[in-house]
């Protein structure tokens, strides 16, 4: 039968907690979530953990295993050494509720702020015609199981509570990209909207999100970069640039950027004047980490040299010099504090 293995699990709630040690039986073929269930059944009936399908389809059991954001149900015990201690902590980017359960409402708020699909006018149900090759681009993003590992990993918001207001995160960039590439979506300003209101400019394509995606969606290459490139194209188009210099703002032919349905939710003023900027007015300005535009060459294209990495998925979110697993004694978990004294003031 099984062997006893050593586990360390963070237990506690918003008022604090600690990593506790457990010795648990592990059998052949088991995954980390099985071990958590065994803990619940035998030692800690009230250990809080989300899960549903146990097959990597629902995205509920997101956690950090030996420091790496992962799905508990898809992390097989056989990927660890026999005598390796496995440390399980909650997602760090979201406030902890209890044990391994975090408050992911940030993501649901961002989902509500992302303009919905706009059906084409005059096309009756049943009359939608699209080619397979055209729907496949969006379908890649619709594979998303909303585990929010990308949101958790993204360093723009990981440990930067103050950026959460302005930044929607990779999950919602692929949503915007999905709608942008939808053959029949009636809105034409998905990219501009993402730049102006979702904080696309904060992303500096380090590909951390792609690396942790359990569905292997190429978030950066297939969604974020194409969205940025075309926004950039427009911004650096010499004619548009010249036009901006010689026409008055109200003569400029900018696409409408604020949706009719969510205009009130968007950042107030900002929309009436020219180019989408990283910081729209109404967005709380933060000094902790400036929004960065991607590096752009003279021809208006982005320098893609940084994509030529030795392994797919790009650099580790933790830096290339970080080896996994982390030494056990280095692993800690501190719930993100709701009040970040440095950055709370609203400009």
């Amino acid at each position: 039968m099984g062997t006893k293995r050593h586990f360390r699990v963070w237990r506690g709630d918003s008022s604090g907690g600690e990593i506790q040690d457990f010795d648990v039986e592990v059998n052949e073929g088991e995954v980390v979530l099985d071990i958590i269930h065994r803990l619940q059944a035998t030692q800690t009936p009230d250990l809080a953990c989300r899960w549903n399908c146990k097959a990597g389809k629902c995205g509920s059991c997101s956690m950090e295993i030996n420091g790496m954001p992962k799905l508990g149900c898809m992390t097989r015990m056989s990927t660890f050494e026999e005598d390796e201690t496995v440390t399980i902590t909650p997602l760090r980017t979201f406030p902890v509720i209890r044990d391994l359960v975090t408050d992911v409402s940030f993501n649901y708020e961002k989902a509500r702020e992302t303009p919905a699909f706009a059906p084409p006018e005059g096309v009756a149900p049943g009359q939608y015609r699209m080619q397979q090759v055209d729907v496949e681009r969006s379908q890649e993003f619709r594979k998303c199981i909303e585990c929010y590992l990308c949101q958790n990993t993204c360093h723009v918001v990981r440990d930067h509570e103050e950026n959460k207001t302005a930044f929607s995160g990779p999950r919602f960039f692929i949503r915007a990209a999905e709608l942008d590439m939808h053959p029949l979506d009636a809105r034409e300003d998905r990219k501009e909207y993402a730049q102006a209101h979702q904080g696309l400019g904060y992303c500096n394509i380090t590909k951390c999100c792609t690396e942790v995606c359990p569905e292997h969606i190429k978030i950066t290459d297939n969604a974020i970069i194409p969205m940025k490139e075309r926004v950039v194209d427009r911004r650096y188009d010499p004619l548009v640039w010249l036009g901006r210099k010689i026409f008055r703002r109200d003569q400029l032919d900018e696409p409408a950027r604020v949706p009719a349905t969510v205009s009130a939710s968007a950042s107030g003023g900002g929309s009436a004047d020219s180019t989408p900027e990283v910081h729209t007015s109404g967005t709380p300005f933060t000094s902790a980490r400036q929004g960065e535009a991607p590096p752009v060459r003279d021809d208006g294209k982005m320098d893609v040299a940084e994509l030529a990495l030795p392994h797919q998925g790009g650099p580790s979110p933790f830096g290339d010099d970080q080896e996994f697993p982390l030494p056990v004694e280095d692993l800690t978990y501190n719930p993100p504090s709701k009040e970040d004294p440095d950055s709370k003031e609203d400009h």
């Binding site: 073929g29 953990c49 146990k54």
Partner: protein, 640 residues
């Protein structure tokens, strides 16, 4: 302990945030009703995501000979004629509209060459009929409905300044009791999982869309949520359940490694060309084609293989028989010693199509086996065996309005929690379309019911107080029995004694053991506090699992025949007399389950004459055949 109870007022409360619940909520909100959606998990995590194959709708995009009448016939055949014919009729007629509607919400189905929604073959469906997105159709459906709700909330925000003003999602919230005013629904009582705080939703109409009961079984494809909550809530509110003896064991669940035992392997594997072999390498399904299906299924491997490319001139491979037949066949092979070491059979696509086709058509299966079992399905066969998947039985409803029968009004049910639509066995692909068709109907009729009410029912304070007491009881028994042990014991009873193959002796034994478990569940305890405490949540769910299991065990003992998802070793034949009977369950004040026989509604003339005489004669009694022959339209339908 002081109890704080949050109170809310709604017009319609939808319990369950899977496909049926979300579709019902959309419809209620479109009818102008203030709507609450109760989700036991996070919003968008519902069990619907596990549906892989597709949604059946006779759009005729791939084979233009398909239409609602063919779909209706397939559904009735699949359910062995025990289906509520009206539900099967509405379902077949309305499914295409419901699918097309999803495209206007933003769904992106796979396409045919001319840009229409592509449709795939599936067990029991005569033509390619399942709208699909690779093998993650359920995810597409739930995401689409979720995003439609968000889009309605955005409209409400633009109008009122609040996203939640007309439709609100209560995530991670469980309802433990329905509140009644006499025999009218007055609201629902439950708790937030996160905080353990209680809430009371006062509403004159409640739509149950809580899914199934599979968690009472050891080997199941169902998640922790599937504890029969809606079934139990309905019973306790005075509604009735039908067909509870019929459980679908999906023929192909994973069997190895042990920790993933039960997780689903989609039927599309077989629809796209996968074949079943025993440990001797034989395609055994040819030995298991029952007489009623002989005309539609191939009897040689050559013909079966030709069918994939030329379905019009060949009969289908027997791997695509309805699920109950395939599950029983696998069960017999394993029992007779021709199974794999882990107790399954082989399902092979690796020798049937090129690796790129497999990874393209079955991406999540490839992924699932690679990551969970370290098996590359493009190179080696999968090991599969039956797993508890779906309950055909459920709340007895009016087919047109989805309103629950029994003593209660204002209660509606849609999706897996309702009964009748699928008869004794559900065809794959019919559940996704079922939840859209009847989800919409439930939402629409719940809204109409609210409009017609002269006076809103009131929730009695004493009912709320007793609901609080029941909910807190396990926490006040910290030294009570461990809920996880109780759940395992219940799963053992149901899996071993009320499983795929049933016998009178074992069922009697099961009934006795369930009574013992009932005593123990009354003493279940939960350690820890109210904040996100899974032990406490399970302790509360156990009560529901138990009463539903009791219905299943009792009905299974009563029905002395084998049909669809109910196989009695001691009564192996299908009985035309039993076809005329539904078993109806109710509970009394003390919580005991009562069983009653009720005649099946009689199919309308224009529907029954869609079948040919030879086929009907396999299901109907001699008396019914005499009546059939007297019909003017009888026998004029072309034999299928």
């Amino acid at each position: 302990m002081t109890t704080r109870i949050e109170r809310h007022h709604y017009d319609v409360v939808v319990i369950g945030a899977g496909g049926a619940g979300l579709r019902a909520a959309i419809e209620a909100r479109l009818a102008g009703k203030r709507t609450a959606i109760i989700s036991k998990s996070l919003f968008g995590k519902a069990h619907t995501v596990m549906a892989e194959g597709g949604a059946a709708a006779a759009m005729g995009n791939v084979n233009s000979r398909d239409n609602w009448m063919v779909h209706f016939r397939d559904t009735m055949r699949g359910g062995k004629f025990l289906n509520n014919f009206r539900m099967a009729e509405l379902h077949a007629k309305e499914a295409p509209e419901r699918i097309w509607e999803l495209e206007t919400y933003g769904a992106l189905f796979d396409r045919t060459k001319d840009g229409k929604i592509s449709q795939r073959n599936f067990g029991g469906h005569e033509y390619p009929r399942l709208a699909h997105v690779g093998d993650r159709t359920g995810l597409e459906l739930i995401r689409t409905l979720q995003q439609k709700i968000v889009s309605l909330q955005q409209e409400d925000f633009a109008e009122t300044g609040s996203y939640d003003s007309k439709i609100r999602v209560f995530a991670e919230t469980t309802i433990t009791e329905l509140m009644l005013d006499g025999d009218r629904v007055a609201g629902a009582f439950g708790y937030y999982r996160e905080t353990g705080e209680f809430l009371l939703l006062e509403a004159p109409a409640v739509v149950l869309a809580t899914g199934g009961v599979g968690r009472s079984y050891k080997v199941t494809s169902n998640s922790w949520e599937y504890t029969g909550d809606g079934h139990a809530l309905a019973l306790r509110a005075g509604a009735t359940l039908i067909n509870m003896e019929f459980l679908q064991f999906h023929p192909t669940g994973m069997v190895w490694p042990p920790s993933v035992k039960g997780i689903l392997v989609t039927e599309s594997v077989r629809g796209d060309g996968g074949v079943l072999r025993n440990s001797e390498g034989k395609r055994f399904m040819f030995n298991y084609v029952p007489d009623v299906f002989r005309k539609q299924y191939a009897d040689t491997e050559e013909e079966a293989d030709r069918w994939y490319t030329d379905p019009d001139n060949n009969r289908r491979p027997p791997e695509l028989l309805p699920r109950d037949e395939v599950a029983r066949a696998i069960n017999s092979e394993v029992k007779e010693g021709r199974g794999t070491k882990a107790g399954g059979v082989y399902l092979d696509v690796s020798t049937r199509m090129p690796a790129e086709t497999i990874t393209k058509r079955l991406p999540s299966m490839y992924h699932q086996f690679k990551e969970l079992a370290d098996v590359d399905i493009t190179k080696e066969p999968m090991e599969v065996g039956p797993t508890c998947h779906y309950v055909m039985g459920g709340v007895e409803v009016d087919p047109d309005s989805a309103a629950a029968f029994g003593k209660v009004t204002g209660l509606f049910a849609a999706g897996e929690v309702s009964g009748g639509m699928h008869g004794s066995n559900r065809l794959g692909g019919n559940s996704l379309s079922d939840l859209l068709v009847f989800g919409k109907r439930a939402g629409e009729h719940a809204a109409a019911y609210v409009d017609a009410l002269a006076k809103r029912p009131r929730v009695a304070t004493s009912d709320v107080e007793s609901a609080v007491d029941v909910a807190l009881a396990p926490l006040n028994r910290q030294s009570g029995e461990n809920p996880y042990t109780l759940q395992q014991d219940l799963q053992a009873v149901m899996g071993d004694l009320v499983g795929i193959i049933r016998r009178a002796g074992e069922l009697t034994d099961a009934a006795k053991r369930l009574q013992e478990l009932k005593q123990r569940v009354a003493n279940v305890g939960a350690t820890g506090g109210r904040k996100y405490n899974p032990g406490w949540h399970l302790a509360l769910d156990l009560r529901n699992m138990l009463v539903v299991s009791e219905c299943t065990a009792k009905a299974a003992l009563e029905r002395e025949e084998s049909r669809g998802g109910h196989t009695r070793e001691d009564f192996p034949a299908m009985s035309p007399d039993w076809r005329k009977v539904n078993l109806v369950c109710s509970v009394d004040k003390s919580g005991d389950v009562h069983l009653e026989r009720k005649p099946l509604p009689k199919m309308r003339e224009e529907l029954i004459t869609l079948f040919d005489r030879t086929e009907l004669s396999k299901y109907l009694t001699d008396g019914e055949m005499v009546e059939f022959d007297a019909l003017p339209g009888a026998g004029k339908t072309e034999a299928k």
